[in-house]
């Protein structure tokens, strides 16, 4: 399983941050590999070429815990997990994001070596987008 984490601060209240990042549709739209999300945010549609490489077109999301906010998004051959630790700070709200990804089933030996390399870039994009979106609220 590949993991990466990053910490940043946004100039909005912790309550506001929590209400946004509990919405799996909002979270999904911050990933570059997610092309579209269902109206209720439960389904993330994976963009090509990742959908073809992983043979996973959709991920079904669920929130596992509210504090810290833990979620997972699982598809045929791909499982993403995320943890958001949120804490008030002088400048606003400090958010620690931890992401992990792993391949499932027969695709695992193909996906996992690649996932290990790519997760940092995925997290960097995700964190940047999340920061931008939250700062806009």
């Amino acid at each position: 399983m590949a993991e990466a984490e990053m910490e940043f601060t946004v100039p909005v209240s912790a309550d506001e941050v929590k209400s946004r990042i509990r919405d799996m549709g909002f979270v999904g739209r911050c990933f570059k590999f997610v092309g579209d999300v269902s109206r209720d945010g439960r389904i993330w549609r994976v963009k090509a070429p990742m959908s073809a490489i992983t043979q996973t077109k959709e991920l079904e999301t669920r929130v596992l815990s509210q504090d810290p906010i833990e979620w997972e998004a699982e598809g045929k051959h791909l499982l993403w997990r995320g943890v958001f630790e949120v804490e008030e700070s002088e400048e606003g709200t400090k958010i620690k994001v931890r992401l992990s990804v792993e391949g499932l089933g027969s695709m695992a030996p193909i996906i996992n070596p690649m996932a290990g390399m790519q997760i940092e870039g995925q997290l960097r994009y995700f964190a940047k987008k999340l920061r931008e979106e939250l700062s806009r609220t």
């Binding site: 990933f31 570059k32 590999f33 090509a48 070429p49 990742m50 490489i53 070596p113 690649m114 390399m117 790519q118 940092e120 870039g121 995925q122 960097r124 994009y125 940047k128």
Partner: protein
């Protein structure tokens, strides 16, 4: 011919200056042309990262490391598997201390779209831009070492065309002409042909693009032959038009018009280098062809750059923005890229490779008249 390492270092430094001017943090080299331009080394499927500061890093299969480092003077990273190769690229990109590093990637013939697409997927935090803005300003102006190599490529083009002229006769297939010419010119020193040779005969001489098929060449055919030999990476391009048997008056007239257009273009380049644009030349050609009664029969795109790529900046038939390029001293050009296509008479082209110096020098010199063979 050996090019001093200092020349390659200078090219890298100039690329890095352009990268900084364009706010590009790094450039990923995937094509042999650019890898060769910046290192002098030749690799199958080269990969090299050039940061905007500091030394470039070639990424090579482990067993090639020693040779690459000896030939380039650069420190290489190695791999033994695809994940290791990707890891070398990705860890370099992750080391760039920016939220969104800007990376220039070649988006040309030699770069498969799938590579760019997967590169984007693997590095979502990276902004990918076209490397043309970095590479073209350098490569379109040739240094003296490049000119020497292109002169040799030009000589090989002449030799190849001479061989083609000897072979053309009724009964031979287009494919056999191409096969014999390629074998011959490679024996004479060409490392390869930059594109599959055109032997377009009969109705096929009217075509914009070409190839060599099993079609048997017949008496009365117009045959258009286009050859691009490569010498130490550098290309020349030559096209001549032949008639198998005796040319008719309309064929002679069309060929003469094309030849006059080529001569006019070369004269204009000589008179107005550093001033005239590709677009102005194209406009003048259109007017000339209209005056000759060939309006609508001549295809635009007479001039393109040539060097390590058989078609490179300025390359207006693919990149329309290149129409605004000024023809400048130091460029090497192909003149006669497009066909005058007249149903009933044939297709006509005379293409040569030239160097724009104080004077224009022809790098290909094979007879330009309409050649009657067989």
């Amino acid at each position: 011919m050996s090019i001093p390492r200092s020349v390659y270092r200078k090219r890298i430094r100039r690329a890095q200056e352009l990268m900084r001017e364009n706010e590009v943090d790094a450039m990923l080299i995937l094509s042999l042309e650019n890898y060769r331009y910046f290192t002098g080394d030749v690799r199958k499927q080269p990969r090299m990262l050039i940061p905007s500061e500091n030394e470039p890093t070639p990424i090579v299969f482990e067993s090639e490391r020693e040779e690459v480092e000896r030939r380039t003077g650069l420190q290489a990273k190695t791999y033994r598997s695809l994940p290791e190769m990707l890891s070398a690229v990705i860890s370099f990109l992750n080391s760039l201390e920016k939220d969104t590093p800007v990376v220039a990637v070649e988006m040309e013939f030699s770069t498969p779209a799938f590579l760019i697409e997967r590169f984007r997927m693997a590095n979502p935090h990276v902004e990918v831009v076209d490397a043309k803005q970095i590479v073209s300003p350098l490569r379109k102006i040739k240094d003296r070492y490049e000119i020497e190599l292109m002169k040799k490529a030009g000589k090989l083009a002449d030799i190849a065309m001479e061989r083609a002229a000897d072979l053309l006769k009724p009964g031979i297939s287009e494919r056999d002409v191409a096969l014999e010419v390629e074998y011959y010119v490679r024996k004479k020193g060409a490392e390869r042909l930059s594109f599959p040779m055109f032997v377009n005969s009969g109705e096929r001489s009217l075509w914009l693009h070409g190839m060599a098929t099993d079609k048997i060449i017949e008496k009365g055919d117009v045959v258009l032959i286009d050859i691009g030999p490569v010498y130490q990476g550098y290309c020349a391009d030559i096209t001549r038009t032949f008639v198998v048997g005796s040319a008719g008056s309309e064929q002679k007239r069309a060929h003469e018009a094309y030849l006059r257009m080529q001569e006019r273009v070369i004269e204009r380049i000589e008179e107005k280098k550093n001033e005239i644009t590709v677009l102005e030349l194209e406009r003048e050609n259109s007017e000339f062809m209209k005056a000759m009664g060939y309006n609508g029969l001549y295809v635009r795109g007479f001039v393109h750059g040539i060097g390590l790529g058989f078609e490179e900046t300025p390359f207006p038939t693919i990149f329309p923005e290149d129409l605004r390029e000024t023809i400048s001293k130091g460029m090497t050009l192909s003149v006669g890229h497009s066909v005058l296509s007249i149903k009933g008479a044939g297709g006509f082209r005379i293409e040569d490779t030239i160097h724009v110096g104080d004077r224009v020098a022809h790098l290909t010199n094979f007879d330009r008249k309409l050649l009657e063979v067989g």
